[in-house]
Symmetry: C2
Subunit: 258 residues, 2 copies
């Protein structure tokens, strides 16, 4: 005879566990926490595949082996996420811990540095693209938008779970990269070499810096770079979108620098 | 003696002119109208430079020679735009009229076709990038997101004003392009040639098709293309963002096909 497993469904927004989780939507708590929230089945599945899924809150029956499942009402899902039309599932996911920074640089061949990228969609898209072109490390300056912002996570489409990402002092990072024999490229429309004219040695280790949407890479950061490159554009636009510029650099370097 | 010019400021949301303009935020009216709204000084300036600015609504004093200026309260600006934090200025801008389609194809060298692109940010970014790489024509299938959606306009950063854009039957367009000796490329991860291995003749006329965010280019559209290309990506991601993939194609073709 079929017998349904008993399950408890939390429906009260006053439940202490739910109240704790709701705090993760507040910037202050989110920053200090060692977990973050992801919304929707695709991201929960990807977190599970990457073995960093801690807990699932779900409206419907789900099965993630060895992961704690908490059944909740749809109102609770809506309260916990800031998505307009959430699916009925939220994952609580471990943040990547930042201990292997120098080791990662030593093993890396391609590194992308972001100097003050502020739009969550851009940051997420850059991480997704970096995963696509096997970038070994994405390094965020301390004034970038928060990596665990829900819009960033969504735009990565799961790539946040399998990419090496560090938040670090960008000037120190450039020095560390130079000490590890990287060619460090700034990006700027001025005093720069066209990307297509860049000479690359066989197997050269390359890092490049992308800048803030409105202001580009800071002058004091450009000054630390070995040289600056630009992507030639017509005078019909002032600049490319930063995630677009980054993608072009990553693709171009991936085919030139085998 | 300094004498301030008299000006009338409309403050009533019931004003008939304001009521007409507010309708432009409703999809039904927006589609039928021959004008559209842009928000913020940058876009208003760009529309003016391109000589398609019909009227300006502004909270503060502004000067656009030969353009009708209507002074309004900030509440009216908020009512008319759907921006969260609008600046105090809105432009009413002429839509590009669709008469030179075949003529544009005949003179074109690079054409981008979009098959059901649905995200406004992606469509706007693709148009911005297309302007940057001197694409002669961006052709939208009839199931793309509305070109004059305010998020599309914002993401173009003004490139919507100086780019040839048509909404048209995409299958007919592919035939028209083939009849004008274009090489028409589909984009697909399957049954495709890697972009970097694509042979391009000197001065070849090239059109390529980008697809919907979730489903890619429709099979029946791919079937009409001369060949399919792909951008090689690692297995860490399922696909690139469509505006990223489009940008890589546009840059690559711009440096290969001089």
């Amino acid at each position: 005879m079929y017998k349904e497993k008993e399950k408890t469904i939390i429906t009260s927004l006053q439940n202490s566990h739910i109240k704790e989780l709701t705090k993760l939507n507040m910037k202050k708590y989110a920053k200090e926490s060692d977990v973050f929230l992801v919304e929707g089945k695709h991201l929960v599945d990807e977190a599970y595949r990457n073995d960093i899924l801690v807990e699932v809150l779900s409206v419907d029956d789900v099965d993630y082996k060895d992961v704690k499942i908490t059944y909740v009402s749809f109102d609770i899902i809506k309260k916990i996420t800031d998505t307009l039309n959430p699916q009925g599932i939220v994952g609580i996911v471990k943040k990547y811990s930042n201990k292997d920074y120098l080791q990662t640089i030593k093993k890396a061949k391609t590194v992308v540095l972001l100097d003050g990228v502020s739009d969550p969609g851009n940051l997420g898209t850059i991480i997704r693209t970096a995963a696509g072109f096997d970038v070994d490390l994405v390094l965020l300056s301390e004034d970038c938008v928060d990596l665990y912002n829900s819009k960033v996570v969504r735009a990565t489409q799961g790539a946040i779970f399998n990419t090496n990402i560090f938040c670090y002092d960008i000037k120190k990072a450039i020095n560390d990269l130079k000490n590890s024999d990287f060619l460090v490229l700034g990006t700027s429309l001025y005093n720069s070499l066209s990307l297509k004219d860049l000479d690359i040695k066989d197997n050269e280790k390359i890092a490049f810096v992308l800048g803030n949407e409105a202001n580009g890479v800071k002058t004091e950061v450009l000054d630390l770079c070995d040289k600056n490159v630009r992507i030639d554009i017509s005078n019909k636009i002032e600049s490319l979108n930063v995630s677009v510029a980054g993608a072009i650099m990553m693709y171009y370097l991936s085919i030139k620098n085998k």
